[in-house]
Structures are given as C-alpha cells and as structure tokens.
Symmetry: none
Subunit: 205 residues, 4 copies
DNA sequence: CGATAAACGAGACGGTACGTCGCGTCTTCTG
DNA sequence: CAGAAGACGCGACGTACCGTCTCGTTTATCG
C-alpha cells in the first residue's frame, strides 16, 4: 500500500487545498506523457491543461520528476482493483488470470506512457525504482502468492526459485514495454509460461 | 552489422573531415554520460573535452540525441571482439562463457552508462531501439547459435522456444541494469539458467 | 516627446514587471557600450551586470539592436534638463551657453558612446534616426528658438535660413563626434559661429 | 592618390595572383553592402558571389573590416576623374561645379552604401577615418584650392576661415548621407552656399 | 620538360554571440 | 491563506559568422 504523499501537518487556517486538483493534475500529466514523453512534457503544459498555475504544481510536488513519479504510480493503481486473487486450482490459469489487469490493460495509453519514459527512468533512478515498485510491486506480490499456493498443492516443487520466476515476468513485461515499446500480449505471456517458466519451475535441477 | 553512419556523398572538394575526431567525440560523450547521464551531459562539455567546437559536433550529428545514440552503439561495439564462439560441448557452460563480455563487462563504465540512460531511452524511442539492437543484437545472435548447437547435440529438444529464451536473457540483463541499476552478476545469471531457463528448455510442454 | 515604449496592454494578472530594472539595464548597456562598442557588448554581459537573465532582456526588447536604441535615447534624455533657455540678449552668447549641456557634456561618456556606435548607426537605420532625433532633436528646437528671438530683436534679418544654420550645428557636432571621433570643443564651436554661421546669417544674400 | 595596397615583396615563384579578382571582390562587396550593410554582409557571401573562396579573401585582406574599407575607397574613386578643376572666375559656380561628381553622384548606390555603414564607421574608427579620407579628402583638397583662388581674386578676404568652410561642406554631406540617409542634393547645396557659407566667408568678423 | 612553389575553390575547424525555451522560484492580485 | 497568472535567474540548446586550416587542383616560373 504505497502512499503517494506523506501526511502533511495539514494547516487548519486559510483556504483548504483542493485535493481533487491532485487527481486532475496527475491525469493531465499522464495524457501529456503519453503523447510527448518526459522531456516533451512541460510544467506549463500541465498547468495550462488543468487551468491551474505552476506554483500550484510546485506546492504539491518539489520537481517535475516527482510529479511524474506520482503520475505513474497513480496511473498503475487507478484501474487495478482486485478484491480476491484468482484461484482456479491451476498455476497456469491463475497467472494468466492475473496478467490481464497488470500487463495487458496497459496496452492502450499506459503502454505508450511507459514506452515514452525510458528517458525518465534512471535519469532519476530512485524515482524510477519507486514508480517501478508502485507499478510492479503489487503484481509481484500476487504472483508470489499464487506460486506459493502451487507449491502447497504440490504442483511445483518446494525448492522452485519463485523469486526468479517473478522477476522474469516483470523483466519481460517491462523490457517489452519500456525498452522495446511493443506490447507483451496474452499470447506472448502464455508462451513464456508454457515454454519456459512452468517447465522450468517444475523441473528445476 | 549496423552502420553508425549512412554513407554520405562524401564530397571530394574542400578540407576532409577528420574522422578520428568522430571517435574522440563519441568516447568523450560516453565518459561524460557515465558520470552525468543524458541531461547532465552538455554539448559544450563534449566540445571542450575534445578541444573542438560545437559547430563541429552539429556538422556530424543533427542533435544531442543522435550523438548519444551513436555513442552508445559505438560503446557497445567497441570492445566485444569474439573470434570464435565458446564450444564446451555443454549449453550451460557455453552460455556462461558468453555472459562475461556481454553482460558482466558492462559492469564498469558501460553499466553506469546504461543505468544513467533510462532517461534517454524512449524519449527517443527509435534511437533507443537502435542502440539496444546494437548492444544486445549480437549477443542474441550468439546465444541463438549456441542453443541451436545444443539442439543438434540433442541436449535440448528441437521444439524448444529458443527465441523466447534469448529474450529472457536480454530482458533480465536489461531490466536489472537499466531499470533497476544493479548489475546482473554471474551468480544471478547462473541461477537464472539452472532454476528456470535450462530446465524450461529441456522440458517444454 | 518620443516615447521609449509603446503602451503595452499591461496585463493586470500575474507578477508585475519590475520597471526599475528597465533603467538599470539601459544604464548597464550604456556603460558597456562606452567601453566596448556595439559588437563588443554582449547580452550576457548586460544580464550579468544587472544580475538578471537573458530571458528578462528579451522579454523587454526583441533584439540587441532595439535594446541599444532605447539605451541611446534614454542616455540622451537622462541628463539634459533645462528649465529656461539662456537669454543674454545676444545670439552668440545664447548659442554658446547652450552648447555646453548639448555638445560639450557629451565629451565624457556620451561622446565615447556615440563614437563607438558608428558601427551601429544605420546598420539599423531607423533606430539610428530615432536615437539621433532623441539626442539632437531637442537641441535643434532650442537653437531654433534662440535664432527666432534674434530675428525679433533685429539682430539677424528675418529671411535668414535658420533651419540650415541649425543643421550645420548638428552636422558639425555629429560629424566630429561620430565619424571622426574627436570632440567638437567650445573653441571650435566659437570659431564656427564667428567665422561662418553668424556672419552668414547676418549677411545672407 | 592614396594607395589601396602596400607594395608586397611580390614573390616571383609560383602562380601569380589574379589581380582582376581584387576588383571583382570589391565590387561584389559594395553590392552586398548596399543591400545588407556591414553586419548583413558575410565573407562567405562575397566569396560565393565572386566564385572564389574565403582563403582568397583573407590572403588579400586581413579582416572583413579592411576589405570593406578598401571597397569604400575603391567605390569613391572609381567614378571621379577630374583632369582640371573648374575655373569660372566665380567661387559659387566653381564649388557647384565640383559638387556633382563628389556628392550628387553618390545619389544612387553609393549613397545607399554610405547610409548602411553607420554601423561600420567607428566600430572600426581608424578604418573609417581612412575610408572617409579616401572619399572626402580629395574633394576637400579641391575645395580648398578653389577658395584660395577666390582669395587671390579678392572675392573673399584673406583671413576667411577656409578650413572651417571645407569642413562644413564635408560635415553636411556626410551627416545627411550617413547619419540621416537622405541625399544632400544640388538645391540643398546651393542653399548652404548662398545662405550660410559664402556670406559667412565674405563677412567674417 | 618536369619539378616546384604559390594561388585558388571548397569546405572543415575552434571559438563565440545570438535568440529561444524550460525549470524552479518569486511576486502580485483575486477568491 | 490557496490559487491563477506570469515575471524572474539560470543555463542548455541549436544556429550563424569570423578567421584559420587543410585538402586537391591549376597555373606559372626555374632548372
């Protein structure tokens, strides 16, 4: 449950901050990022599109980079709402059920955003890690849980390298989206599972 | 065999371009990128370090981005010179023998460069792809060859998804270096091979 | 009464322009012009000396040339403040009394400025005319008035070519200052009056 | 008879300089100056228009400024060829006879050139003086001779300030052409003579 | 006649100023 | 006090020009 903002003293005097603006700003940022990328996006653009002012942006975020970080995290969280994990009794189907919200739903605008952000990641390494964690962290958690269940069921051996498998999933998704700019579709994902990951987990040496 | 430069008409009149300068410029760019990243690097810095002038840089490259692209490609090509592929009669050892020049040797300056260039990749998507291809393309080619040999030897089945395996290697290296900024070391690589890739290839469903 | 600036809409929103900066900038420009001339003066120098930024200069003036024009006009207007014209009852003494603030006082910095700006005048013809008018216009007006009084007193005939005489004064001053770079001193001016202008006006054919 | 060039050692070896090029270069320079002024003129333009190279220009002149100086002098001398001074037995007609080649003939392109060179004069003071001397020097010499003859004839008194009168002529011409950019026409010149100069010289106090 | 030396056209080179644009801060006025 | 608007200091970008240099070619004189 990563927090977008540390709780500020929240002054009780004067006009209150309009926190619906936060959302509108992040949304605008995402839109512009999807079109123009990090360097192409201007703080003035964001201010103009939200009919606000630059000072308002900088009152909320100390820099463009941190605004973008929060925009990314917000984007990734905004649509994923899982009440309960899939439980088909079968690791392959469990993982496939989970890929939709986490990877495939990125396919439209979100993918474009990530694809445009190579430039951003790791110019601001720490922020990129946080954004990355915000986006991929929960998915990794879920994948890990599903695999542990599979171990309990005896579907894969106990000594299977679950962490590595989770990383491969993230790495493939991230590499294809961010570095190569192509979607990592359901078919691709199924092939990864069937041809590499599942046999690998089951027959680890 | 990606070419750094399209063959220009190469006018026969006038003073010739000093093409040793090209190399010195690219080298200087890489050094600065390793220290300061894309945004931190300045065209004036590059000019100063090569005791040349900005006009000279812009005569050769139309923008900072394209200079950086060529610098990356040049960097990736400059040190890897394999006369013959390893041939240990064993896929695991072959792949491990290859990882050193391609992944681990990046650990010094090259890794730092890649790590600093998240910001750059895919701001200039096309350039990133070219640079990526220049860097990872040859390695993929070699990995593919080694796996095909393993098929011939009967070490892995013919229907093994070689392409996917190659992509996983690249993705893991790239993800760890570029997105996470940590080296993907020999031990990690061995674990990937032993726990996932090799069993996966051998027991594909 | 030439205006330095067209009245801008003067937006009522946002931070106000600091118009004291205008003056400081013009003053700095004049100082640098006096030392280094037009080509020697750099926008960065002006910005540095006023502890401002280039963008601020270009927000106020569209080019270096127009900044210099306004600096010249400002310089010419800044120090000459005559409440009442001299009135000695004698044209020669009246004119001599006026030459000090208008010509001889230029001898210090102002003359140096004009002398350094040959290079500038009429590269930007219109600007030169405006600056010239700003500098010499008022003096011509005063000279004309003094001569008209002399006509009224019967000191010189009514048909005397006053306009031509005024132009000769300006032309000699300007030529000596701008084109030749030597001051047109009080003695020279007295000689011009005694040997040419006054006898000429009095005995016109 | 001012010399454009000091006699160089004039090496006897190697290819001879094509001195017809000198003239073509100066002519091209004048054309460009008339259109674009000093700053607008580029050494590359001059080279291009004469189908020569920049090195050729710099072999002959050490800088753009000195090329322009010689271009001005060449321009002024190129059309004035007086075998014998006018001698009408009358100072007014003598002076008027001389004004045509020296002032009025400038009216077309030459005037435009001078008008565009305010920017140049006195950024390069010395050169401007030389150009000025080259252009106006001979005219002043002729005017002086004519006035001395008038003294001999008893037309004007011996103590008349001839030098000042010559300067006034130059100053008015120069001021109107260079600083104001309007021609100083024959009518204007006649008025100057009749209303100021001649009565002034005759009745000097 | 062939060697040699300089002029020539073309254009690369180092340097420096221009004018533009974005970031992050500061200031003013309005709700 | 928050918010909209926009000026401000700073510094990099990409362009243009100066004056120098280095090519390969052409033209002259000398041995």
């Amino acid at each position: 449950m990563s927090e977008l903002k540390k709780a500020k003293p929240e002054n009780t005097l004067g006009r209150k901050r309009d926190h619906t603006l936060d959302t509108r700003i992040l949304e605008a940022a995402i839109e512009i990022l999807a079109e123009l990328g990090f360097d192409g996006m201007t703080m003035d653009m964001v201010a103009a599109r939200t009919k606000s002012g630059k000072a308002t942006l900088y009152r909320r975020w100390p820099s463009k980079a941190e605004l973008v970080r929060d925009a990314l995290i917000w984007m990734s969280q905004s649509s994923v709402e899982l009440e309960h994990l899939p439980d088909t009794g079968n690791l392959r189907d469990d993982l496939l059920a989970l890929v939709k919200p986490y990877s495939l739903e990125f396919s439209e605008r979100k993918l474009r955003v990530l694809a445009k952000l190579g430039s951003f990641f790791s110019e601001h390494r720490k922020i990129a890690e946080e954004a990355s964690a915000g986006i991929f962290g929960p998915w990794t958690d879920f994948n890990r849980t599903l695999m542990q269940r599979a171990i309990k069921r005896g579907e894969i051996p106990a000594q299977a390298d679950i962490e590595m498998a989770c990383q491969v999933i993230i790495a493939m998704t991230s590499y294809r989206s961010i570095t190569q700019g192509q979607p990592f579709g359901r078919t691709d994902y199924a092939a990864l599972l069937d041809h590499i990951l599942l046999p690998g987990l089951k027959h680890q040496q």
